[in-house]
Symmetry: C2
Subunit: 301 residues, 2 copies
């Protein structure tokens, strides 16, 4: 069984097929969040802290941290965000940037074994990101696109993923430290997006044996009642081998689908987490996950 072990200074998280699904909180990301971007740029990280605490209270086992703000000093901002989040939570982090210097600045201050988000199958990108991952003993998210873009053919994407896994090995990074992102397109724009990802996941699991992750909310972009689409997508993806996702545990429909999928995949032993989350005797059928989430948040405050 492939285990990807991530850590903070005091806590380990294991991504694996025989483990509960790992929810990596997506909220600390200024992309599309004007207020957060303006605050971070001006040195106000209070919302970063609040987002970190809320996501962990809601059940995120890891947090993604991104500081991609145009015309800002991204390496400095990302390093500061990483330090701040590590000072208020104990969960391992995914350090998220497309800028190599920012990844390096984040890794330099990080305590523990981080997940670097991400490397692509582009030659230049692999040659710059993978040595960094190896030097810091991190794990890395491998995105299955290359110079030719994102193929609609899952078999082409599989070959890109295999190439990254092989190249990582050249740098001494074992396959268990490469977490492949199969890349899900919005299903509203491309009706085959789900089938593509499910097929790719099955090949990644059976032929490469790697763990996987994805930015889950992308699948429901543009659709109404989108959180049910996202949650259902995650359950179906889990059934095809997905072992983690960058997502929001703050949406009850998404979180409850993931927790139910853990039960059904046999990774919530004796349904203990499900029963704990839903045991409120006043909870109406169907409303339990949301209420219990509120309950956990209260306990954490």
């Amino acid at each position: 069984m492939t285990h990807t072990v991530l850590s903070s200074a005091t806590k380990e998280v294991v991504i694996g097929f025989d483990r509960p699904f790992v929810m990596i909180g997506e909220r600390i990301n200024p992309t599309g969040r004007k207020m957060l971007a303006a605050e971070m740029k001006s040195g106000d990280f209070s919302r970063v802290e609040a987002d970190a605490l809320a996501q962990v209270a809601a059940g995120a086992q890891m947090l993604d941290v991104n500081a991609g703000i145009p015309l800002a000093d991204e390496p400095a901002l990302l390093a500061r965000a990483v330090q701040l989040v590590q000072s208020v939570t104990d969960v391992p982090l995914s350090i998220d940037s497309s800028i190599i210097a920012a990844l390096e600045a984040g890794l330099a201050v990080y305590q523990g074994k981080a997940l670097v988000n991400s490397v692509t199958g582009e030659e230049e990108n692999m040659e710059r990101v993978l040595p960094l991952v190896a030097r810091y003993g991190a794990a890395v998210v491998a995105i299955s696109n290359d110079e030719t873009g994102i193929s609609e053919d899952p078999d082409v994407r599989f070959e890109v993923a295999r190439r990254i896994v092989n190249r990582a090995a050249d740098y001494g990074i074992p396959a268990c430290d490469v977490v492949v992102d199969p890349l899900v397109m919005p299903i509203g724009a491309m009706g085959t997006a789900g089938q593509q990802v499910f097929k790719l996941l099955r090949r990644l699991v059976s032929e490469l044996g790697v763990n996987t992750t994805c930015g889950a909310s992308n699948v429901s972009f543009g659709l109404p009642t989108r959180n049910i689409i996202t949650g259902t997508y995650l359950a179906m993806a889990i059934s095809n081998g997905l072992t983690s996702a960058i997502m929001s545990p703050l949406h009850p429909e998404v979180k409850s689908a993931v927790m139910a999928a853990d039960v059904l995949a046999g990774n919530d032993r004796d349904c203990a987490a499900w029963i704990r989350e839903n045991r409120d005797p006043n909870a109406a059928a169907g409303a339990g996950a949301g209420r219990a989430e509120g309950g956990r948040r209260r306990r954490a405050q």
Copy 2:
């Protein structure tokens, strides 16, 4: 592509991998419903009629009709229920009984091509049910247990299913008219129940190419917030090849998971059904499926 075609006097429904998932309404069943059982036994079928209309209004493409009441004249009750439901709805029916004479009585009055629910892998049962199915030109649900009971090993259950499909062929019933029920156990009692069914579904699809169905609510028996478990189970099962289920479309969490799974499996072209169901501009995220269901019911009244 395997297509199982069912019909009423005026309407056809097709179960298939390239079709929207077929929800077979489960409510017309006196098992565990004391009031319904007492009413049916006394000749009052008003609740049967109401259950039929409500389920069709909520989106059921077919209805299961069961009249299994202890010490009652089940053949007569089932025939009457079938006639009544056919007089108030136009959806094809699943005629549900463990008593051969009741199946025969239901088939004798049925208009169209029915789904007979069910035949097992027991020798005596096959020899009695399959000739009936063949004589009436019906399709049949094949339950993957035999004289030895229900195996926990999906490969044993697969062999039972294969045996029924082969035996059906001996009677001139093509494989496309055998809809296999992989039998899902309550996940709260057996943590491997989901994995068993998902594995069995994959084999049924890839090796026998048959359509499948199951009594979905059984999976969540005994658990809190059970409709989310049932809905998530169905989405995962759909991702592994399940093409229909005997279920309640009246539970918004279950119905919305099925509709979302259709979107993600690529069987809701242009997400048309999803958008129609969720387009209420006042619907809050996550509440759409339930509200839209109310809306459809209003239109049908």
